[in-house]
């Protein structure tokens, strides 16, 4: 760590000020507002505000819609994480085996990351559009009638695919780097020890990738839970029948569309707690290097 001594007491504060201001205005202040509002209840016109204690949280606990949203979020996060990590590991292993064209594939595979979530959502919305999309046409040929506007599972599949696709690039890069740090001599030693390619992958490569895998696991769960708002908003808007109404979308919908600020604030406090928990898990485990 490089230490610098400032003779002027004011200068370090001035240098820090822009970052602190941004953190304060865009993070600490709204977070404090959310916590405050989660204990309050407003009437429909926003004229009277009263302190209600933990009533907003109790109401969430007793609300079937919120419990449904919790369940939807869990299913969604697990599916997105598994799908995007599985695919990117597959791609990373494929690229790792290449010698000359690896960098070309890497560059191409990183492109989706540059696409804005809303655009990615619209893209997949078009591909899967029951009327004009390519995929429903193909699926119809194999006898499947795709309709994410009426089918809950189709809608879930659509948002999962769109969200996972966005995240593949990110996971891919980490997996490629992770694979490159597994010494070739270990795989050679395993080959001489009589392990075939599949066995080598599961016995040697995968365990040695576990720090990368665990890091990505946390990052992907956080991504699926918090950064997929735009994908949902651009495709299903939480529907049909709440089937894709993940927690972060419900916060927005209840608060800004439903105007139920107290409940919305309570929901964002729950989300905040989840993020803090995930961050702690991340630091506790990843810093210590999992598995070996």
């Amino acid at each position: 760590m490089k230490r610098t001594l400032f003779r002027n007491q004011l200068l370090p504060w001035l240098l820090l000020a822009p970052q602190l201001a941004i953190t304060f205005v865009f993070f600490l202040w709204p977070a404090a507002q959310a916590i405050r509002q989660s204990f309050l209840r407003q009437d429909a016109f926003g004229i009277n505000t009263s302190f209600v204690g933990l009533a907003n949280f109790r109401a969430l606990w007793n609300s079937p819609e919120y419990l449904n949203s919790l369940q939807v979020t869990a299913v969604f996060a697990v599916l997105v994480t598994v799908l995007s990590m599985g695919f990117s590991l597959l791609l990373a292993v494929a690229v790792d085996r290449m010698i000359r064209s690896a960098s070309v594939y890497t560059t191409l595979l990183v492109w989706p990351y540059a696409v804005a979530p809303a655009v990615a959502g619209i893209l997949w919305w078009f591909i899967f559009n029951p009327t004009i999309g390519v995929m429903p046409y193909v699926l119809e040929m194999v006898g499947y009638d795709w309709n994410h506007i009426s089918s809950k599972s189709d809608a879930m599949a659509l948002v999962v695919i769109a969200s996972a696709w966005k995240q593949i690039s990110y996971n891919f890069l980490f997996f490629v780097a992770g694979l490159q740090s597994v010494p070739a001599s270990l795989r050679e030693a395993a080959a001489i020890d009589g392990a075939g390619p599949v066995r080598r992958f599961f016995d040697i490569t995968l365990p040695l990738l576990s720090p990368t895998t665990f890091f990505l696991l946390v990052v992907n769960i956080v991504y699926a839970m918090f950064d997929t708002f735009a994908v949902i908003d651009a495709t299903t808007e939480g529907g049909p029948a709440q089937a894709t109404n993940i927690m972060v979308y419900k916060v927005y919908f209840d608060g800004f569309v439903g105007q139920n600020m107290g409940s919305s604030a309570a929901q964002s406090v729950v989300l905040m707690v989840i993020v803090i928990a995930l961050t702690i898990v991340q630091f506790r485990w990843v810093e210590k290097k999992v598995a070996y």
């Binding site: 050679e188 080959a191 009589g194």
Partner: protein, 335 residues
């Protein structure tokens, strides 16, 4: 237990670069062969071709009575010790040792017995349940050898296994490897760039240069009669003096040779000697000293017993019959 026969083996990489060419070695059952040469001489490539980690572009490799060119590493019945040990970091020492046996479907009881045997031979019993990172360099080295011996393979392949150890441990491990090989009598190929390691370990040495064999022979044969100036300069420490014969005009029997080789220990101070040396520097080694100087403009090194001050000018004589004569252009031995 098996012989290994390399017949005109060559390696050409995809880009057309030739790493190894025309290598033929006949390794007898139970023999300890050391491939030695400077870095980039193709010795590791050659070893990896025997192991099956590199494809064989030319020639054939036989292990026992099989041609193994197209046989997978796992099925060649060899075990390899890597330079960085290549221990599986997420497995305990016991699992590291057992992995190769487990993959081959060896019965559980058999695995336990063999692991225990290997651990006893290498004295790593107390560490069986530790992870490799909790071991010292020497212990890791032993585990790597243990992983090779539990499989009871037809041959051991060593790829510079001691180069990551400190100098003192290297000497100890060198003796242990030699002793182990003598007890197990397993055919071994050992790659190193350290000529001292090569001399002390080998039954026979294979000196490689530029992907080709310079000389094959017992360490003493190679030391006493190096086949070329390359071998002469590479084997032996301090290195042999290689000077044009015109620089030593008074030395008997050397006039027709292009290059004369004299080991520093074969020169001695003799007031009536034929070589006059202008001393440039003296290196004290304790029991003896190295005296560097010039004779007729050519650098020459002499080993002398430690003692009195070295004068600026010395007369040297060469031990009779200790000169090596080489062709000026080809560098091949001509006497």
């Amino acid at each position: 237990m098996a012989s290994i026969i390399l017949d005109k083996v060559g390696k050409i990489y995809a880009g057309g670069t030739r790493a190894v060419g025309d290598v033929s070695i006949d390794i007898r059952d139970g023999e300890f062969i050391v491939l030695v040469g400077p870095s980039g001489c193709g010795k590791s490539t050659l070893l990896r071709m025997v192991a099956g980690l590199e494809s064989i572009s030319e020639g054939t490799v036989r292990i026992g009575d099989r041609v193994v060119n197209d046989i997978e590493p796992a099925d060649r019945d060899i075990a390899m010790v890597f330079q960085n040990y290549a221990l599986y970091p997420h497995m305990s020492v016991r699992q590291n040792l057992a992995y190769g046996l487990k993959n081959r479907g060896t019965p559980r009881a058999d695995i336990d017995r063999r692991v225990a045997d290997a651990a006893a031979i290498l004295q790593i019993g107390p560490y069986l349940d530790r992870k490799p990172r909790a071991l010292s360099g020497g212990q890791r080295q032993r585990v790597a050898m243990g992983r090779a011996i539990v499989r009871e393979p037809a041959a051991f392949l060593f790829d510079e296994p001691l180069s990551n150890l400190d100098a003192k441990l290297r000497v100890t491990m060198r003796l242990e490897i030699k002793d182990l090989q003598r007890r197990l009598r397993t055919t071994s190929i050992y790659v190193t760039h350290d000529q001292l390691e090569a001399m002390t370990l080998a039954d026979r040495l294979v000196v490689l240069n530029g992907g080709r064999i310079e000389q094959i022979g017992t360490p003493l044969d190679v030391y006493r009669r190096p086949a070329s100036t390359f071998v002469a300069g590479f084997i032996g420490s301090p290195a042999m003096n290689l000077i044009p014969s015109r620089a030593v005009p008074n030395l008997p029997g050397t006039a027709h040779a292009g290059i004369v080789g004299i080991r520093p220990e074969d020169l001695a101070v003799d007031p009536s000697g034929p070589i006059a040396l202008d001393v440039i520097a003296v290196e004290e080694l304790g029991a003896q000293r190295l005296v560097h100087g010039r004779t007729n403009g050519e650098m020459l090194t002499v080993t002398m017993p430690a003692g009195d001050a070295v004068p600026d000018r010395l007369q040297l004589a060469c031990r009779p019959g200790a000169t090596h004569l080489f062709h000026a252009e080809t560098g091949q031995r001509i006497d």
